[in-house]
Symmetry: C2
DNA sequence: CTAGTTAGGGTACAGGTGTATCCATTCGAG
DNA sequence: CTCGAATGGATACACCTGTACCCTAACTAG
């Protein structure tokens, strides 16, 4: 075999360039040539490692989902050990919000993808798996927490989780548009967690 | 003066065509020629009544805001009279969600606009006035309701309102992506209103 | 050493984009 | 009746888009 190149690395490089553009200038600014320029390669290379623009876009969404998933796992297991259920939820919801420059860029890109997914079934399939999985995992956690007596029995775990995730999504929007600061959004989250789990479990 | 045409009507006709496209196929599908086709006129007419594509887009966002505002006022004042504060909030939040085909289309268009506004300062200015105004009006209402004893004094009206609006926005997203039905979203809203105002005020 | 595959530079093509221009009609004011 | 402004049809332009193709290096298995 002749000259071998690490395809996986090349594709990651291109996908990251794509997400950088989507996060700063939006998905409408993403074109084959822009990606090539951002990655510092020629148009041909982009074509060589991705058959389609569609394939490239799907790769971007997949990577985005993987990043968020990775961040969630890192930040939840990081402060593991003697974590109360409330702490777990706080960590997850804080991680969903754009908390630093990188996660702001990713949230921007995610929002852009979500919007085009509303009119593009192919992307919708890829983009809905993460939110659904998250809702299920958290519902299971909250149900367990309820049985352990951490929240009162009159709460409905699935409804609570759906509400908290919708809240986090809505807050993300307002943080991205700079209508609200990250810190204010976190306060609102904690305010709701207080209501759910009872006063702050310092 | 020669043949006079109702400019206002023409522009409305074109703006509505624009919003129909944005609501069904997304903002990325909006082009001068598509608008012309959707409105049943020639490209020249679109150019004649709007100097720019930018002007057209801004007109679309303005109209969208006006529609939502109109709907809010209709549905709130409709069941006026002996409305409890809780009923007012329920009406507002239910109106934000996509509750019929028309409001679903508008919500789609709104989401599309919101996303491009994140990377387009000109649109951001237009698009943020409505949410901010709404938050202020509702905060005033809730503060008054608190003084009248409809909610307990330990609640913070501004935080509650911000949370409820973020919740409604997040739920709108999930309804648009058909992750959740409108009815389920309404249930979650009422669930939270119960917590805020106390058990259902029949 | 050589054949053959992988990797990419360069360029072309068909189609869509916003915008500008040319021109014909329409019609009311004088 | 006529002149000129309002309205809009038709077309052109320059640019950007995704994709396809040609051809040359590079390199390794034989």
């Amino acid at each position: 075999m002749p000259r071998q190149v690490d395809h996986e690395a090349r594709r990651r490089q291109l996908t990251e360039a794509l997400l950088r553009i989507a996060g700063t200038r939006g998905l409408q600014a993403v074109s084959m040539r822009e990606i090539a320029a951002e990655a510092g390669v020629s148009l041909r290379v982009v074509q060589y490692y991705f058959t389609n623009k569609q394939a490239l876009l799907e790769s971007g969404l997949t990577e985005l989902g993987a990043r968020i998933d990775r961040r969630l796992k890192e930040r939840v297991t990081a402060a593991a050990g003697e974590l109360t259920p409330r702490d777990v939820f706080a960590a997850v919801l804080r991680t969903i919000l754009p908390f630093d420059e990188q996660s702001r860029l990713d949230s921007m890109a995610w929002t852009a993808y979500y919007t085009v997914a509303l009119t593009d079934p192919a992307l919708a399939a890829v983009g809905l798996t993460l939110p659904n999985a998250l809702e299920n995992v958290l519902t299971a956690r909250l149900t367990a927490a309820q049985q352990a007596g951490h929240i009162t029995p009159d709460r409905d775990p699935r409804t609570e989780v759906a509400g908290l995730l919708a809240l986090a999504n809505g807050l993300t929007s307002s943080v991205l548009s700079r209508q609200r600061s990250y810190e204010d959004a976190v306060k609102i989250i904690h305010y709701h967690l207080d209501r759910l789990f009872g006063p702050a479990a310092v």
